[in-house]
C-alpha cells in the first residue's frame, strides 16, 4: 500500500471520531452545567451527594470505565452498544471535568455581583441566570474549548471497544501490511490535524479574555 492509500484508509475513520465526540458532548455539556451549578449552590449533605456523583465520573480512568461498561455489564444482563457506551462514558468523564470548570468560574466571580443582584430584588434563580452565569460563561469558554481537544483524544479509546475509528483502522492496516512507521505517522498526523486548530482557537480566546477581564475587583 502506498503512503497516500494508508493515510486515506485511516482518515476514513475520522467520521467515527467526530460522531463519538458529538454524542459524548450531548452527555458532557448538560452534566457539566447541571452538576457544576448544583455543586456551587448546594450545601451540606446535598453537596456531598453531588460531589460523589461528579467524582465517580471524573476520578475514574476513562479506559477502565469503558472496559467495565462494555465487557462487564453484559454479564449482569445490561448489554449496551459500543456507541452508547462510548458516548456515555467519555461524555460523563469529560462532563465531570467540565463541572469543575463551571463551579470554579462561578466561585471566582466577585461576591458583590450576587449581593447587588439580590439587593435589587432579584430571586436567587434570577441572579444566577441573568447576572452570574453570563459572566461565568466568558471565563469558561477557553477552558471548554481546550477540553474539546481532550475529548477528541479520549475518542481514540473507542478503538478498544470495536468502533472503527482512525486508531482501529491503523491497527487493521498494520496487520495487513507491516509498515508501522508510515501507518503510525499518518495516525499521529490525523489527530494533530483534528486537535491543533482547536487548541489554537482555545489559546487565542484565553489571551483575549485575560486582557478583557481587567474589571476592578
Amino acid at each position: 500500500m502506498s503512503a497516500g492509500e494508508i493515510f486515506l484508509g485511516i482518515f476514513a475513520g475520522v467520521q467515527v471520531t467526530l460522531a463519538v465526540a458529538l454524542y459524548a458532548l450531548l452527555f458532557a455539556v448538560p452534566f457539566a452545567l447541571i452538576f457544576g451549578i448544583l455543586q456551587y449552590l448546594s450545601r451540606g449533605y446535598a453537596r456531598f451527594a453531588v460531589t460523589a456523583a461528579i467524582e465517580f465520573w471524573r476520578s475514574s480512568s476513562a479506559i477502565v470505565l469503558l472496559f467495565v461498561f462494555f465487557y462487564v455489564l453484559p454479564f449482569v444482563g445490561l448489554p449496551l452498544g459500543p456507541y452508547t457506551v462510548a458516548a456515555m462514558v467519555l461524555g460523563l468523564n469529560m462532563g465531570g471535568y467540565g463541572s469543575q470548570v463551571v463551579r470554579g468560574a462561578l466561585a471566582a466571580l466577585d461576591r458583590g455581583q450576587l449581593e447587588a443582584a439580590r439587593a435589587l430584588g432579584m430571586s436567587r434563580f434570577q441572579a444566577l441566570v441573568t447576572v452570574e452565569l453570563p459572566q461565568a460563561f466568558r471565563q469558561m469558554l477557553p477552558t471548554f474549548i481546550n477540553e474539546l481537544v481532550e475529548l477528541i483524544k479520549l475518542t481514540a479509546l473507542v478503538s478498544l471497544i470495536t468502533l472503527a475509528d482512525p486508531t482501529f483502522r491503523a491497527k487493521q492496516i498494520f496487520q495487513i501490511t507491516y509498515q508501522p512507521a508510515v501507518i503510525y505517522t499518518c495516525l499521529l498526523l490525523i489527530y494533530f490535524m483534528l486537535g491543533y486548530p482547536i487548541a489554537r482557537v482555545g489559546k487565542r480566546l484565553e489571551r483575549r479574555f485575560a486582557k478583557a477581564s481587567v474589571v476592578p475587583k
Binding site: Y71, F75, L157, T185
Partner: protein, 222 residues
C-alpha cells in the same frame, strides 16, 4: 452472579503485585515528567527560536492521544531496529506526554514570580544556575504544587493504558483473571479499590507537601 470472597482472596496477591507496579510506574513517570517539564520551560525562555520550537513541540504532544503515542513508539522503534522493553516505552511515553502539560504549569508558576526577586538575585551576584536552583525552583514549586498534584493523579489514571503494550499492570492483570475464569466482579472490584486507595494516598501526600511549602516560605510573603 455473587461476589465470591474465596476467589477474590485467591487473586489478591497477584493483583497487589500488579498494583505496586502501577504505583511505581506512576511515581517514576511523575518525577521524570516534572524534571523534563521544568527543563522544557526553562529552555523555552532562552530566546524566541527556542520558544517557538518548544511551544510547537509541546502543543503537538498535547493534541495527540497518549494511546497513539504508545503504539507509535512501541511498534515503530523495533521496525527501525531499536528494541526497548515495554515498561521503558510506557514510562517514556507517560513522561513525555505529561511533561508537556507540566511545562505549562511551570510557565504559570514562573510568570507569577515577582521580578524584584530576580533583580535582587542578580544584584547579589548569584550565578544564573544558582538563581534557578535557590530562588526560582522553590518559588515555582510552591506556585505549582496543586496543579502538579492533579497531573500526578492523571498519570496514575493513565497507567492502565500500558496494558495495551503488554505491561502487566492492574488493568491487564485484572482482565487476564476475568477472561480466564469469566468472573468479572472480583478482579474489577479489587482494581477499583486499589485505584481509589492510591488516588487518595497521592492526594493526601500532595496536600502535605503543599502545606509544607506554604509554611516554610510563608514568612517571605510579607
Amino acid at each position: 452472579m455473587k461476589f465470591d470472597f474465596a476467589f477474590a482472596l485467591s487473586i489478591l496477591p497477584e493483583l497487589t503485585r500488579a498494583s505496586f507496579l502501577a504505583l511505581a510506574i506512576a511515581l517514576v513517570s511523575s518525577l521524570l515528567a516534572s524534571v523534563l517539564g521544568f527543563l522544557l520551560e526553562l529552555t523555552r525562555r532562552t530566546g524566541p527560536v527556542a520558544d517557538h520550537a518548544i511551544t510547537f513541540a509541546i502543543d503537538s504532544v498535547r493534541v495527540t492521544p497518549l494511546i497513539v503515542q504508545l503504539y507509535f513508539v512501541f511498534f515503530v522503534l523495533p521496525y527501525w531496529g531499536i528494541v526497548l522493553p515495554a515498561l521503558v516505552v510506557g514510562i517514556g511515553c507517560l513522561t513525555i506526554h505529561y511533561s508537556s502539560y507540566l511545562a505549562e504549569v511551570f510557565k504559570a508558576g514562573l510568570d507569577a514570580i515577582p521580578r524584584e526577586l530576580l533583580d535582587a538575585a542578580k544584584a547579589l551576584g548569584l550565578r544564573p544556575w544558582l538563581t534557578n536552583l535557590l530562588i526560582i525552583l522553590p518559588l515555582v514549586l510552591r506556585n505549582s504544587i496543586p496543579a502538579m498534584g492533579n497531573y500526578f493523579l492523571s498519570i496514575l489514571k493513565a497507567t492502565p493504558y500500558l496494558s495495551l503494550i503488554a505491561v502487566n499492570e492492574l488493568l491487564g492483570t485484572a482482565f487476564e483473571f476475568a477472561s480466564d475464569t469469566f468472573r468479572y466482579y472480583e478482579p474489577f472490584a479489587i482494581l477499583g479499590a486499589f485505584f481509589l486507595g492510591y488516588s487518595l494516598l497521592i492526594a493526601a501526600a500532595v496536600r502535605r507537601v503543599e502545606r509544607y511549602f506554604m509554611r516554610s516560605l510563608g514568612q517571605m510573603r510579607r
